[in-house]
């Protein structure tokens, strides 16, 4: 079966960057807080994901002068934002459908 859904860690990375540009450690903490501590991503996994997202043009590095190399920030590209919106629309449709079906069952 082909799955066209974003995985939870990738979705959380994109959601974290949708709000504002962040550096790696800030993304880690934001993912943890968004998922109430349920999703904890290692730095190896996070930077692997960031690298792939960079390669596919979903995110980009913010070019800022005077930013130390260990705190380079990332932000969503327009392509990444568009894809995120498509995914959110899919999830919205799914939850709407789930609410309707469960409500019908209870009635």
């Amino acid at each position: 079966m082909e799955t066209f859904a974003l995985s939870e860690p990738v979705l959380l990375v994109l959601l974290s960057l949708a709000e504002q540009p962040r550096h790696g450690y800030a993304i880690l903490k934001d993912i943890e807080s968004m998922s109430d501590g349920r999703v904890r991503v290692s730095t190896g996994t996070l930077y692997g994901a960031l690298q792939r997202l960079l390669d596919h043009g979903w995110i980009e590095r913010v070019q800022e002068e005077n930013t130390p190399r260990d705190r380079r920030t990332y932000r969503l590209t327009s392509r990444g934002r568009r894809n995120l919106q498509t995914e959110i629309e899919r999830l919205r449709h799914l939850t709407r459908l789930a609410s309707l079906r469960t409500a019908r069952k209870e009635a």
Partner: protein, 170 residues
Amino acid sequence: MTLAVYCWLLWLYPRSYRLDLHEEMTFAFREARSTLPPALATKISFYRREYFGLLAGALCAHLDCLFGVDVSFRRFDMQPQFRFPRSTIYLMLVIFGGVVLAIGAAAKVAGDPVGAGWRTVMSLLVFMLLSMGIVAAAVWGVLHGLRCSGVHRLESLQSHMDSVQSRGNQ
């Protein structure tokens, strides 16, 4: 000490990755480590996650360098008839251990007539077992790393997203 292990594991990454990301990753690790609660279980879980994450990340990075980022790792769905419970592996190891011990005991009873031949067979078996273990660990690491982030599906996702967006625009 833990930072030294982390930095040492970073050497497993391809050179280009290491040069690009070494400082960022070390900074993120140091920050995450400094906010760890004192509970021992949490610390163990943190270091296990970090070190295994690095091992899996390094393997994936090497595969990226070898095959390019567009390589699509399809999900491996084993046919149901070939699936077996995880306990089977442990059971097989126990049986294997039992067979080895039995052969050893039999050789002792028989006054060890096979001598050096027996030792060669044993070392060959141990070598085979170790090699299989290393290969299995490497494969598991790659699959684990991919499953953790799910980024291996980005390429197929992009074409799907494009078609959904173009349908939405029409």
